[in-house]
């Protein structure tokens, strides 16, 4: 009975997990190998959907862009740690800044799209300021130039994510016993030494978790694409997951969308395993 009891407690959660996660993943993976349509008989088509998506420029651009999105991970992590260290100080009004940095996280993506759309458009605020200070000669096509648009979207994604990781790091910082830092200072360590020798090593588990989370979030980016460019200009801002969404839900080509999702999932698993391998602490 002792062996069965824990499983009985787990059973409701496991059933829900099986129903809403495992079953859709399993059935979705199966459908990726079929020509499933709600209105026609379904046939097994083997790798046809995968051949199709890998021969498609938009999906290949999507994979390239999803990998490009990984570039924002170090910026987000460094930025979030810096912000966390800054807002960890007990200064007057610091709570305002903590909340302010977190606002983008709770702002809905549609509002983000409208707001950054205003800032980024050809006659928008950003171009106005740049022209005013003579930093550029003509308006920059932040969202209309295919060489730039993906970076503009990456910036917005980083902006949205920064507050979330800042809070994670803030929690990590506040869990470091202050005695250790005080002891180091008493031993004559400078602030920089305390940061690098005490704070960062103690924060390492948080860094590892946050890095893996942001790597996965970067690979799965699609919402910002949807609200800012819908994959344009010249299909240059497609990400792999946006392609999956576009095919599966916007154009109702479900098997193609599922095939693309499966590829993204496999990418995510592989990269998460790599991260775990390289980021795992060598010693405790």
């Amino acid at each position: 009975m002792k062996r069965v009891q824990p499983w009985l407690f787990l059973l409701p959660a496991l059933l829900l997990l099986a129903l809403f996660s495992l079953w859709p993943v399993g059935f979705g993976s199966f459908l990726a190998f079929t020509d499933f349509s709600l209105v026609r008989p379904t046939h097994w088509v083997g790798l046809d959907n995968f051949r199709y998506i890998f021969a498609n420029d938009m999906f290949l651009t999507g994979i390239k862009n999803s990998l490009l999105f990984l570039l924002i991970v170090p910026f987000i992590q460094v930025g979030a740690i810096t912000l966390a260290v800054l807002v960890n100080n007990q200064l007057h009004g610091i709570r305002f800044f903590r909340a302010a940095y977190y606002v983008p996280v709770v702002t809905t993506v549609s509002v983000v799209g409208i707001m950054w759309g205003f800032l980024f458009h050809e006659q928008g605020t950003l171009n106005y300021l740049l022209l005013k200070i003579h930093a550029v000669n003509s308006p920059v096509g932040w969202l209309s130039d295919d060489a730039i648009a993906i970076f503009a979207i990456m910036f917005v994604t980083a902006w949205r994510g920064l507050g979330w990781y800042m809070v994670m790091y803030l929690a990590g910082l506040q869990s470091i016993p202050s005695e250790m830092q005080e002891a180091a200072r008493l031993d004559g360590a400078s602030r920089t030494q305390v940061f690098w020798k005490i704070t960062v090593p103690m924060l390492y588990p948080t860094i590892m978790v946050c890095t893996i989370m942001s790597v996965l979030a970067a690979l799965k980016a699609y919402q910002e694409v949807d609200v800012l460019t819908q994959g344009g200009p010249m299909n240059s801002t497609f990400t792999a997951l946006y392609y999956a969404y576009d095919q599966g839900l916007k154009h109702l080509k479900l098997p193609r969308g599922l095939a693309a999702s499966l590829v993204v999932s496999l990418f995510c698993i592989a990269i998460a395993l790599l991260c775990l391998r390289f980021l795992k602490p060598k010693h405790r």
């Binding site: 050809e122 010249m234 080509k253």
Partner: protein, 426 residues
């Protein structure tokens, strides 16, 4: 009265009770209420009172028909509909646009309605023509639209322009002039639907099963567009997007765009959101082009999905014709700012006369109504995976216009991709 008599009376009472029950049952069966469920596209919450009122008035006339209204946002309606058809629980009527209806008719997912419409003359000829696929009529026409040109007279004045353009060439020339004189974009054509743009200009997309959009005429048209793009005449935000209109209306409301070619509906948004811009807005008819097809025709209809019990046809036809009759179309057009497809509604003084001191919204009504006889839903029909193919074309046009590729080469490559797909047996 002896016991035998009492027993007989009890038996007779029992029989009478049984007879009453049978009669009551038969009466119930005779007054059986039929249920018509109809789906609309993005009508809630703005048009909730209107639809509730229509349903209420219909129920007064037909107490034996129960009507249930369900509204879906446009981006999930198709998924819901296909799921409902597949699961055998389709609505009796569903609101679709013409390209969707054509695709569903091709796939056998909606049924012809010619046997259900009692009075075809109630609808305009162009509306019925747009809904006729393979010689069958596939829906009850509801509302449509047609584009007008809204132009900002302040920007026009600053650019040295006094009148609205009367042809596409003038539209492009005005756009260039506006940018040259004011630094603002002049025009924002719907290049995300370049196929319709070509067709409206009389240039075919597919001929004899081959892509033909790389002809010298197509190249010349893209060259004209490219010249205007390079000269700064076009609004560049989401210019090639499938749904670029939000960017266009935002730019117009912000005083950053000289001309907005759109349905009259958009003017109501200008009127509410940007009063200063609205005050300097004038309206003119959008150029017809060589095909004599008015830009912006996009009709919505009520179709009958496959799987609806044929016994329900009389009831659903009755409701569909009530919903789309002259009076209801006129009422809906007035509140929604759209154009009716019912003949008498379109001839109503509301669409014929411009009120004294009327603003751009009032000016737009008679102009749009006059263009309605040229209004068609322009799209390429009958191709599998069409959205994907259109993207290839849009990308080629974008590459050509933005100078990333030679126009002819880009269109040739796109045509080759199309032809490869068109050769694949379905």
């Amino acid at each position: 009265m002896n016991i035998a008599q009492l027993s007989l009376i009890q038996k007779l009472n029992g029989l009478m009770l049984l007879a009453c029950l049978v009669l009551a049952g038969a009466s119930c069966a005779a007054q059986k209420v039929e249920r018509v469920e109809f789906w609309t596209l993005s009508m809630k919450p703005k048009f909730t009172p209107y639809f509730q009122d229509v349903v209420r008035r219909f129920r007064v006339l037909h107490p034996d028909i129960e009507v249930e209204w369900v509204d879906f946002p446009w981006d999930i309606l198709q998924l819901k509909l296909i799921t409902a058809i597949a699961s055998g629980t389709p609505p009796a009527l569903v609101n679709l646009n013409v390209p969707w209806a054509e695709e569903y008719a091709r796939d056998g997912l909606i049924v012809p309605v010619e046997g259900m419409i009692q009075n075809r003359a109630m609808y305009t000829k162009v509306a019925l023509d747009d809904l006729t696929f393979n010689n069958h009529l596939y829906g009850f026409p509801h509302y449509s639209n047609v584009n007008v040109i809204a132009y900002n007279t302040s920007i026009f004045k600053a650019a040295g322009l006094t009148e609205a353009p009367r042809s596409m060439d003038e539209e492009l020339a005005f756009a260039r002039q506006i940018y040259a004189r004011t630094g603002k974009a002049g025009y924002a054509p719907t290049l995300g639907k370049i196929d319709s743009f070509f067709m409206q200009q009389g240039l075919p997309i597919v001929k004899n099963g081959r892509a033909v959009f790389n002809s010298p005429e197509h190249v010349a048209l893209v060259k004209k567009l490219a010249d205007t793009y390079q000269a700064g005449g076009f609004l560049k935000d989401r210019l090639f997007s499938e749904d670029g209109f939000p960017a266009v209306i935002d730019a117009y409301k912000g005083g950053r765009l000289g001309m907005m070619v759109s349905a009259p509906t958009a003017l109501r948004r200008i009127q509410i959101d940007a009063k200063e811009i609205y005050a300097v807005t004038k309206v003119a008819a959008a150029p017809l082009g060589p095909t004599q097809i008015a830009d912006g025709g996009w009709m919505f209809l009520y179709a009958v999905p496959k799987g609806v019990d044929p016994r329900l046809y009389p009831a659903l036809a009755s409701f569909a014709q009530f919903l789309t009759n002259d009076a209801n179309q006129l009422a809906f057009s007035k509140i929604a700012g759209v154009m009716p497809t019912a003949t008498q509604a379109l001839a109503d003084p509301y669409f014929m006369l411009t009120p004294v001191n009327g603003g751009a919204v009032e000016m737009a009504q008679p102009i749009a109504a006059a263009s309605m006889k040229y209004s068609h839903s322009v799209y390429v029909a009958g191709l599998e995976d069409y959205d994907e193919m259109r993207r290839v074309l849009v990308k080629a046009v974008e590459a050509g216009m933005t100078g990333k590729a030679d126009i002819k080469t880009a269109l040739d490559e796109a045509a080759a991709t199309w032809n490869k797909k068109l050769q694949v047996p379905k």
